[in-house]
Amino acid sequence: MSIAKRPNPLFRNLNAKIAALPMIATTLLVFLGCSIWTVIYSFSKSRALSLNEFVGFAQYERLFRTSRWLISMENIVIYGVLSLLISFVIGFILAALIDQKIRFEDTFRTIYLYPFALSFIVTGIVWQWILNPSLGIQETVRSWGFENFTFDLIANRGTVLYALLIAGIWQGTGFVMVLMLAGIRGVDREIWNAARVDGIPVWKTYLFVIVPMMRGVMVTTLVIVAAGIVKLYDLVVAMTQGGPGIASEVPAKYVYDFMFARANVGQALAASTVMLTTVLIILIPWVYLEYGKKKAQR
């Protein structure tokens, strides 16, 4: 009997490997390579191009002495926490309401989601206009006779962040709602029958039965929304340009400004490395939960 030798595994499915080359290159060169490059050169002195003088943590020391950066970090934390909280609560409530066998379900859903199809630039400009203290809502309400009405979030250092929040919520809640709705409807229908037979009120069923069963969707949504918040940039540029003063600066804008406008690349790289670290802090527990669990099941 002739014995066939095992062919070289490298050439098995060669076409598939060739086809996957763009993905492999992107993975290795861009996502890994560029990130590592940034981390390494965040320890360099560089202002513009000569990047080879390494200065240890000097860029980081400077970064955390800069009030603009500290404000940026504070802003993104406050914005992030509130934005997550509000969009999850409203998103879930809207999803639960839409789930009540209502008429015109499609219409309502279409209305809640359409802002998500828009650019942050568009969102920012619209809300800049609506919140404009001299011609927007404030002035409109005053013209109705409420002379002392004040609604000037956007013009105030202390409140401009909430103006961003209103716009951000407007744009992003529909997305959360859609995912929540999918999660709610992914729950076995029998559960509803069981809860009805047991005489549990509808709101309790949602809160104590459905929500815990939606853990997967919740966590995934959380990670996606959170990763999006860290990237927050366009909205600020379009709506407040970081102002008044530096009251609404955010980290992504700090990076961009130092990288391109101020040509201080080392500073920008250090700032982006901090952003990367933040994302990893969000991401790693999630990866650990999702994949650690799968491994344990095996």
Partner: protein, 310 residues
Amino acid sequence: MTVEPYEITQTKPSKSFAIEPSGAKPLRRFNPTRIMLYSVLLVAAVYYLLPLYVMMMTSLKGLPEIRLGNIFAPPVEITFAPWAKAWDTACTGLYCEGLKVGFWNSVKITIPSVVMSITIASVNGYALSNWKFKGSEVFFTILIFGSFIPYQVMLYPLVIVTRELGIFGSLQGVIFIHTIFGMPILTLLFRNYFAALPEELFKAARVDGAGFWGIFLKVLVPMSAPIFVVAVILQVTGIWNDFLFGVIFSGVKNFPMTVQLNNIVNTTQGVKEYNVNMAATLLTGAVPLAVYFFSGRFFVRGVAAGAVKG
């Protein structure tokens, strides 16, 4: 519109959206709870629709009427001049040629980017679902987690790379960047879709002597129209709405519509023409909004892609 990619099998590729509501049984038509329910939904709808309404009204008013200060009032005298100006003559920094330049730039950026990214990602997704090789899952996992890395982290090295390739500040440059950053979500989308197709179909095609490309082009692609539609919608809206990559990689001549819109609105010199600004904003939002309203469920499936794996 239903999205059933393969009518023969009982398995549905990707847990898409259940059409039936699953909540509690409907109560009687008009009772206090029901009225409350609709009230809340309507109030929310007003909040979501308000900006669109305000944009529309403002863009149709003349400046003197705007200065009267009621953003909710419909125009007394309708004028389309702001629209014409926004499109044709509004100033975007140095030039006063209106948004039309940005519109065509966006078209020139979006179409090739969509085609390139979908072509590459669909082949990747196919290779990952049906032709797994050693390490393929590792690459894929890194790719997906890579999509969570803030773009800022990779920007500067990419500027250097595109500059070395001689495509920094050009249409090719921004297209290249869009292709790269579209890859994670699209690859995930296609991989999940192809993986949910019956494996036996793929086996049958192999027995029938179709090779890697034969199976993809002759068997899988013809039955995957829905997922290509989803991918196109996802990419058209995503790339059209992009600001960051456009402003960095495309070069001043090729700035997409979003960048030009921002320049029109946020330039500091001169009188603020709110009506022109709003017309310009509506024009910029028109393409993704049209895609959104016409595609319905496909868009929903796109945004939920990957997020709801079951």
